[in-house]
């Protein structure tokens, strides 16, 4: 037996319930029809005109870019040092590390990441990254192809993402912290 709603609030509530019902059944159907594909979680962000990403598991925190002390005589990619959970971390210019020349806007965010060797550092970024996924197969294929620290991976909707391999990136820049040796 269908009950006729008596008030406007009750009517809206019923509509919302129906809407949620429809969405739920649609999602259930999708789950039954598609074969679940392994995915790689990433933190995606813009860098210049392109889209870049880091493996989400390497991301430890996103902080506002402040309280960074510049380090005179350090390498050009070193923005400065900051304090994070009692440790002193280096804040690095990601654009500079990747051989770029700048950002569209001044970075306002620092991403604290694991460099791949257990040490943490902070990378500057225009905005807080967006968590999303890439097909694991595409990531593996790109990794096999790539020689440098940046892998080109296409998303399911054919968008190009530059996935950064932090371990490779930092092993390539190791030992270049000083501008002027003694």
């Amino acid at each position: 037996m269908k009950v006729t709603p008596r008030t406007l609030e009750e009517s809206q509530e019923a509509e919302a319930r129906e809407l949620l019902e429809r969405r739920a059944s649609r999602l259930r159907e999708q789950g039954e029809n598609t074969v679940e594909e392994a995915v790689h979680w990433i933190a995606e962000f813009p860098l210049g005109e392109e889209r870049y990403a880091l493996s989400l598991e390497s991301l430890r925190a996103a902080l506002p870019l402040k309280m960074v002390s510049p380090v005179p005589l350090s390498a050009p990619h070193v923005v400065g040092v900051l304090r994070f959970q009692g440790q002193v971390l280096a804040a690095l210019s990601l654009a500079s590390l990747l051989g770029g020349h700048g950002w569209r806007q001044d970075p306002a965010v620092l991403l604290v990441v694991d460099r791949g060797d257990g040490e943490l550092c902070a990378l500057d970024c225009e905005a807080i990254p967006r968590p999303t996924t890439l097909p694991m197969s595409a990531v593996e294929a790109a990794r096999a192809r790539a020689e440098g620290a940046v892998m080109e991976v296409f998303t399911q909707d054919r968008q190009l993402i530059h996935l950064i391999d932090l371990k490779r990136l930092f092993s390539a820049t190791r030992g270049t912290g000083a501008r002027h040796a003694r």
Partner: protein
């Protein structure tokens, strides 16, 4: 020989005590062996030696360790004839006494470990000791060069009362203390360090409260806010008092923990005296080790790790560095080689120097042997300079010995020393002068606890200096400065000290002589001194200096960073870097750019781009600071952000165009706005060029800078 189970608990403590006493005896013996001591000093040494041996004998007997008591007794016997006529002790007697002490310690440790039952009968060892000892009359005769009648003393058994004498100072029972692991103590120290940082923040909160009270008074609401202001001021006062009490507690906690976690460097250096003596005897050489700074206290773990490296460096110095006495005399040197260990701590850095006055390192020999041993190829050595060739001694597999001896020749040595120093995040360097000697310099971080730091300011940059390196502060006065064409000197205590501008040294500004009244700090390190020019002395703080991350650890200017009251980091400058002479770069021929931008990352990126293009780049974080820089320095081009707080790029250009000296200075505006309107507005305001951040990202900055400079140049 079993120890009474009732006394076993005390034996471990005895072993530790015995080790300390034996160390003292060893030092006395080495001193007695040397020439040139006054009779009074000799007498005092003999008396002290006798007392120490007696303590060992009495303590061992009271714990029922008769074997140890007998050994100590025999050593007393060997000493007795010499005490009567205090003179330099013959080497053979020193050998016997040292050997006896080794025997004593080995057996004491075995008792402490509960292995007393398994020890061989001491009779054989004692008989050997007695057999080796010169007869009393001979021993006395050895020292009685003056012909005085030697006191012949037959071995006298200890008096019964002596053999049961109460030990001088037995350690407390094990039950009286706690056994804690090093990480537990280190964790506590970390908490104390954090507490010190919290204390700094609380201090800042107090200052903020006081500022609020002042602001309320300025608002013209005096009557309405009177009660609130009184309450705020009262809270600020209480906070200050509480803060001072907290400071005292933090100091006491840190001192207490430091007493537990550290010990004087002397504890690892004293045993090295014996090692140097034994090794030089074995090699037919003569050596004397002097130690400077042995009272510095360091983290016990660091000391343990350092000991091996020091042993190796000293063995190397005796074996490879020092010449045989006859060779030394032929070279006009004293027959006894001089080894020196110098220890100095500044802030969180430990400087350790091991030097000898031997033959020095022959770079040609190093090159030849490195090639022969396959450490490097001749092609590689051809490319190396003298310092790099000398550094080959740190490569694995390198040895100058052609034969393998007990001491060296296996090619495992300095590479292991370097590995252990680098394992402690330290650095090792070597300097050598042929015929004059060799110096190994170790720099190591010591990161426990706080240290006093002097905070100074240069332009906008705060910099910390380890207080131990700052000898004095004074203001620059024309009459005490000597200004040359390329550098200035300060007349200080009858010496001329180089004047070093910290700002220029850090690449923050161009080199200029100090202005009248500018603060000068006399900074010393490793015996060198300079007069350091800063813009302001902010004050001194007790700060916890933490190591820098690997990305900036190699920058020689910095030794660490400390947290200030608002959570920002203060970089701590290395005094040894400040006092090191540098070749002044010929910057006059280089083009100079000033980047004015309130974004730290934009400044860093522009700097990178321009430096890559051969520019010397200085930075300013605001329009006002940019103007300040332009008043004291000259630049070929200014790159300026359009959107800045307080004074934007348009306003800065207007100010520059007003002043004759900067009216025609090329200025490029950079902005996130990429519209034609914004571009037109910028150019209309007097900018020579306009770039969007997007264009900068595309790599246009350097090209635009060169283009603008060339256009200005052609117009001029």
């Amino acid at each position: 020989m079993p120890v009474d189970p009732m006394l076993q608990g005390l034996v471990a403590g005895f072993a530790v005590e015995a080790q300390e006493v034996v160390q003292k005896v060893t030092m006395d013996l080495l001193e007695l062996e040397r020439e040139g001591l006054e009779t009074d000093a000799l007498t005092r040494l003999y008396i002290r030696l006798g007392r120490h041996l007696h303590t060992l004998k009495g303590s061992a007997a009271s714990l029922g360790m008769q074997d140890l008591s007998d050994i100590a007794h025999k050593l007393e016997d060997a000493l007795a004839p010499l005490k009567a006529n205090a003179q330099k002790m013959p080497r053979s007697v020193v050998d016997i006494l040292l050997h006896g002490l080794d025997l004593f310690l080995l057996r004491a440790q075995a008792h402490a470990d509960g292995r007393g039952d398994a020890l061989p009968d001491p009779a054989a060892a004692l008989a050997q000791l007695v057999a080796d000892a010169p007869p009393p009359d001979e021993a006395a005769a050895m020292v009685a060069a003056s012909g005085e009648e030697a006191a012949v003393a037959a071995p006298t058994p200890a008096a019964p009362s002596e053999s049961v004498s109460v030990p001088d100072a037995l350690p407390e029972s094990a039950d009286a203390g706690w056994r804690v692991s090093s990480w537990q103590v280190t964790s506590l120290m970390r908490e104390v360090e954090r507490l010190r940082e919290v204390r700094l923040r609380v201090e800042e909160r107090g200052r903020e409260l006081e500022r609020v009270a002042v602001l309320l008074a300025k608002e013209g609401l005096l009557a309405e806010t009177a009660e609130a202001r009184t309450a705020l001021s009262g809270t600020a006062r209480s906070l200050r008092t509480d803060g001072e009490e907290t400071s005292d507690i933090v100091d006491a906690l840190e001192d207490g923990l430091k007493a537990i976690t550290t010990r004087p460097v002397r504890t690892i250096l004293d045993p090295l005296q014996r090692m140097v003596r034994d090794l030089s005897r074995q090699l037919g050489k003569e050596a004397r080790l002097s130690v400077v700074g042995a009272e510095v206290s360091l983290d016990r773990r660091l000391l343990e790790k350092l000991q091996g490296a020091l042993v190796h460096l000293l063995r190397n110095a005796v074996d490879h560095g020092l010449e045989l006495p006859a060779d030394r005399e032929r070279a006009g040197k004293h027959h006894e080689g001089a080894l020196t260990l110098r220890v100095e701590q500044q802030g969180n850095l430990l400087y350790l120097e091991a030097s000898d006055d031997g033959a020095g390192i022959d770079v040609e020999v190093v090159r030849r042997l490195a090639e022969q041993r396959g450490v490097v190829t001749p092609e590689e050595t051809a490319r190396l300079n003298e310092n790099q060739l000398r550094d080959l001694i740190f490569r694995p597999g390198f040895s100058t010995r052609t034969d393998v001896t007990d001491t060296s020749g296996r090619g495992v040595g300095l590479d292991a020393v370097r590995a252990s120093v680098e394992g402690l995040q330290g650095r090792i360097e070597v300097a050598s002068t042929p015929g004059q000697g060799t110096r190994f310099m170790l720099t190591l971080p010591t990161d426990l606890g706080s240290s006093p730091v002097l905070v100074v300011r240069v332009l906008e940059q705060l910099v910390g200096l380890p207080m131990l390196a700052v000898e004095a502060t004074q203001l620059a006065r024309a009459e005490s400065l000597r200004l040359g064409k390329r550098r200035a000197h300060l007349e200080y205590q009858g010496q001329l000290l180089s004047v070093v501008d910290l700002g220029a040294r850090l690449g923050l500004r161009a080199l200029a002589p100090p202005a009248e009244g500018q603060p000068l700090l006399i900074v010393q390190s490793g015996g060198k001194r300079v007069a350091l020019v800063v813009d302001a002395v902010v004050g001194d703080r007790d700060l916890v200096i933490r190591p820098l991350p690997s990305e900036v650890r190699d920058v020689p200017a910095w030794q660490g960073a400390a947290t200030l009251s608002r959570g920002e980091l203060l970089l701590i400058c290395r005094p040894d870097w400040l006092v090191t002479e540098t070749v002044q770069a010929q910057v006059s021929a280089q083009r100079r750019a000033l980047v004015v931008d309130d974004s730290l990352t934009a400044r860093a990126l522009h700097r990178a781009m321009l430096e890559a293009g051969g520019f010397t780049v200085h930075l300013a974080a605001s329009g006002a600071r940019g103007l300040d820089r332009l008043q004291s320095d000259t630049y070929d081009v200014v790159i300026c952000d359009l959107d800045m707080e307080e004074m934007d790029g348009i306003q800065l250009i207007a100010k520059l165009r007003e002043r004759p000296e900067t009216a025609s200075l090329p200025v490029i505006l950079v902005s996130a706005h990429d519209s034609a309107v914004a571009r037109e507005r910028g150019l209309k305001a007097g900018a020579d060029g306009y770039l969007s951040k997007r264009e900068c990202a595309a790599g246009r900055l350097l090209a635009e800078v060169l283009d603008v400079m060339s256009r200005r140049g052609s117009r001029a």
